[in-house]
Symmetry: C2
Subunit: 117 residues, 2 copies
DNA sequence: CGGCTCAGTTACCAACAGGTTACCGCAGAA
DNA sequence: TTCTGCGGTAACCTGTTGGTAACTGAGCCG
């Protein structure tokens, strides 16, 4: 008897995950959102916050996030030019996701440590 | 759509996000978790659920998830070999994250449609 | 004037993840 | 006997991505 695909279950609704993950895709995007969460932050501050990320990638991510409507970019016409990035409302809606990711990640990390020990 | 979240190599020391994202990293991991959420599911069923993912990648993801303790792998010694995958408790703890990702994704999608209209 | 900072941009490059194809052993069906 | 389905694995190829280094250009400082 050949095995059949079981259909006697509630099918998950059409999965929008792929659409959604485009907004979190790319290295460091969650980190950037996290560091923007307390409030507006300048480019060089973000560089300082996440020193392992290169300027190029930071720019790329911020541009992408701006396109997606997750951040606002304010250019301050000060003497040393200064650019502030700020989470939009939509960007702030991602914070619970990131918080959840962090809490689960911590739990998994603890688990690994227990196994290692 | 490719749905890639890169597994970042060296994470920033202070921030646990990178550690956490390793568990969601790799293409299709969130989708797989989602399709496992209603209950155990066989390999070929998952292939049917997510036809765009290749067998190789599906195997890779399931193996990684098994290593991370997110899924259990049950080999049924039936005549056509059958392998069931099942979310562990830890894996189920990821579901709120995925639900959050989905809800935000839907919202962003609506927003894009409004802009396009 | 030289050099510094801020906020990038551009060109080039290596690594790696994911896709494709082929193949395996086994059992039951035709 | 051959064929198919299951659950993979191995070898190979390609595209993307993120890193590095060098550059810009305005404004200020000394």
């Amino acid at each position: 008897m050949a095995l059949k695909v079981r259909k006697n279950r509630i099918p998950p609704p059409a999965c929008p995950i792929s659409d959604c993950m485009r907004f979190l895709g790319g290295a460091w995007t969650p980190n950037i959102i996290w560091y923007l969460s307390p409030g507006p932050r300048r480019f060089s501050e973000l560089r300082h916050d996440i020193p392992v990320v290169s300027a190029k990638v930071l720019t790329q991510r911020l541009r992408e996030m701006e396109e997606h409507g997750l951040v606002l970019r304010h250019v301050m016409p000060t003497s040393p030019p200064s650019v502030e990035y700020e989470l939009t409302e939509l960007g702030q809606e991602l914070l619970p996701v990131i918080a959840a990711i962090m809490s689960v990640g911590k739990r998994l990390k603890r688990r690994r440590e227990e196994i290692a020990a």
